[in-house]
């Protein structure tokens, strides 16, 4: 028996790997789960891709802004699927009534969260890589041509998705599967506010303040600047990153508070509603 460090802040790569392995075993055993990762982003791509074709044929502006919709839908999917990848991996523990097994094991909350973050990227890669290739093939839109900008977009979007995923997982852990719907719907609140398909200037003035408080808004504005003006707005990316650090810290604090509350009310031993 090996000696165990006693702090809840200690991170063990072995335990994080164990959890990642657990989710990889699950994906490997279930092709519908893998199919689900690809199918909806592909449907979204075709809907918006053909819409972009149509409006480009009838509008000079959209003809110049080729790829704006497709770029937006792909970046939105990084945000949405990133959160879903995090939350669904957590939900798997609730569905399989395995959460208590993990909570009385030596697995620390930060290790659990780290494993969920890794799985969010794995699931995102399984879903998005084929779809981005389809975008090149069908619509001549190469997301990877964004180069360094894509890395900045991705980092900011995935950080936001993890913050939302962490809070949603905490709420489900504290309140049971009755709160599961949040995992599927909460991100859509951000869709109109983060201005995925239109510039912030379209919003009423009072709503623009809220929009600028959300990191993805900076990413979508940055993407439009890149597509329309061929300019990489580093200032927007830095502002988004600073906001993301704040939101991530808040999300972790909320998760720990919800975990303490779950330990107080006894919901760790139950995985029901």
């Amino acid at each position: 028996m090996s000696a165990a460090p006693t702090s809840s802040l200690t991170l063990s790569v072995q335990r994080i790997n164990a959890m990642v392995l657990r989710y990889l075993y699950l994906l490997r055993s279930s092709w519908p789960r893998v199919l689900d990762l690809i199918y909806w982003p592909a449907v979204q791509l075709f809907v918006w891709g053909f819409l972009q074709f149509y409006v480009a044929q009838n509008s000079g502006f959209f003809a110049r802004a080729a790829g704006m919709f497709i770029g937006a839908v792909l970046l939105w999917d990084i945000l949405f699927r990133g959160q879903l990848g995090f939350s669904v991996s957590f939900l798997e523990e609730m569905w399989s009534r395995n959460l208590a097994n993990l909570m009385f094991s030596p697995l620390r909350p930060f290790e659990f969260v780290a494993a969920l973050m890794v799985m969010s990227i794995v699931r995102l890669a399984i879903g998005m890589v084929p779809v981005t290739i389809l975008a090149i093939f069908f619509f001549g839109f190469n997301l990877y041509s964004f180069g360094f900008a894509l890395a900045a977009f991705f980092l900011n979007l995935i950080l936001t998705s993890w913050s939302v995923g962490i809070v949603v997982s905490g709420v489900v852990m504290r309140n049971g599967l009755g709160a599961e719907t949040l995992a599927w719907t909460v991100m859509f609140v951000l869709m109109p506010l983060t201005c995925v398909y239109y510039p912030v200037s379209v919003l009423p003035a009072w709503l623009q303040g809220i929009a600028w408080a959300l990191p993805p808004t900076y990413v979508f504005e940055g993407m439009r600047a890149l597509v329309l003006e061929h300019t990489f707005r580093a200032d927007l990316m830095l502002a988004a990153f600073a906001l993301n650090l704040v939101y991530f810290a808040i999300a972790v604090a909320v998760f720990l508070a919800l975990l303490r509350s779950a330990r107080r009310i006894g919901s760790l031993l139950q995985s029901g509603e």
């Binding site: 006693t6 699950l26 279930s30 009534r97 097994n101 993990l102 009385f104 094991s105 030596p106």
Partner: protein, 269 residues
């Protein structure tokens, strides 16, 4: 009562260096103004290398007590200490030396038994994991089932797989909630023998919640009977039988559960 002087039951077995030390433990739930005392001021101490049975009807507070010992549930007041670590505050000092098996907790159904044991073995930092899995599977007659999805096992096979998970880290403290539920008598007997052997070889401390009185009588050198969150009695099985003037623990349990405990004790005296 929790937080109020009412030490109705004193632990009967003094233990110098307890592995599990439960001291005036309380768990109170409040919902819409209604107060429920799930565990109400209980104290006991378990010596190393002993098997203790926790008996009680549904809602007696057995699972709540075990959850507080595991650190899954925060006590309202009092203390649950395992190998000196205050639970849940200091749980990471000892969780790697503990394990738990319960029909209320499952392993992921889509994973094979081997995959589940691999994941939990890694979480518990088990050395020579491959060999340990093979040895545990052999001990629990699971060798032929290692590559079968856990969800496709029969109820009895699932219980053995859960037990394999509970033993994968060779725990010094093992908490079991109805470990032989849904097993046929032959397999249940075999599992009991295995637990006895494990305790003897490992000098493990085992706390066993069960509704199976024959099982408790056979395995446990001490029995704690709970009712409505309180400890109603605590003694060795043979002492309980004499105290209540009964031939078997089932009758003792029924006396306590149906409120005839006091009368039976007086009659026996």
């Amino acid at each position: 009562m929790c937080g109020i002087e009412n030490h109705r039951f004193e632990p009967r077995v003094p233990v110098s260096f307890p592995t599990i030390d439960v001291d005036r433990l309380c768990k109170v739930y409040t919902s819409k103004g209604k107060v429920t005392r799930a565990v109400d001021d209980i104290s006991f101490a378990l010596a190393p290398g002993t098997i203790t049975g926790l008996l009680g009807g549904n809602g007696a507070g057995k699972t709540t007590t075990i959850a507080m010992i595991l650190g899954l549930l925060e006590p309202t007041s009092g203390h649950a200490r395992v190998m000196g670590a205050e639970m849940p505050r200091e749980r990471y000092r000892v969780l790697h030396r503990m394990n738990f098996e319960s029909p209320y907790v499952d392993m992921p159904n889509r994973l094979t038994v081997r995959q589940n044991l691999t994941v939990f073995g890694r979480l518990y930092a088990v050395e020579d994991l491959r060999e340990r899995i093979l040895a545990t599977a052999a001990e629990l007659d699971l060798s032929d089932l290692l590559d079968r999805p856990t969800g496709k096992l029969s109820a009895g096979q699932k219980t053995r797989a859960s037990l394999a998970k509970a033993l994968i880290n060779r725990p010094d403290v093992l908490l079991l909630d109805e470990p032989t539920a849904s097993l046929d008598p032959d397999t249940a007997d075999w599992v009991r023998s295995h637990l006895e052997r494990y305790r003897a070889e490992q000098n493990a401390t085992v706390l066993l919640a069960s509704h199976n009185m024959a099982e408790v009588e056979r395995l446990c050198e001490r029995v704690i009977i709970m009712k409505q969150g309180k400890i109603e009695d605590d003694a060795a099985p043979d002492v309980l039988l004499r105290r209540y003037g009964r031939d078997n623990l089932e009758d003792v349990f029924l006396d306590v559960a149906r409120g005839r405990g006091e009368a039976s004790r007086e009659a026996a005296q």
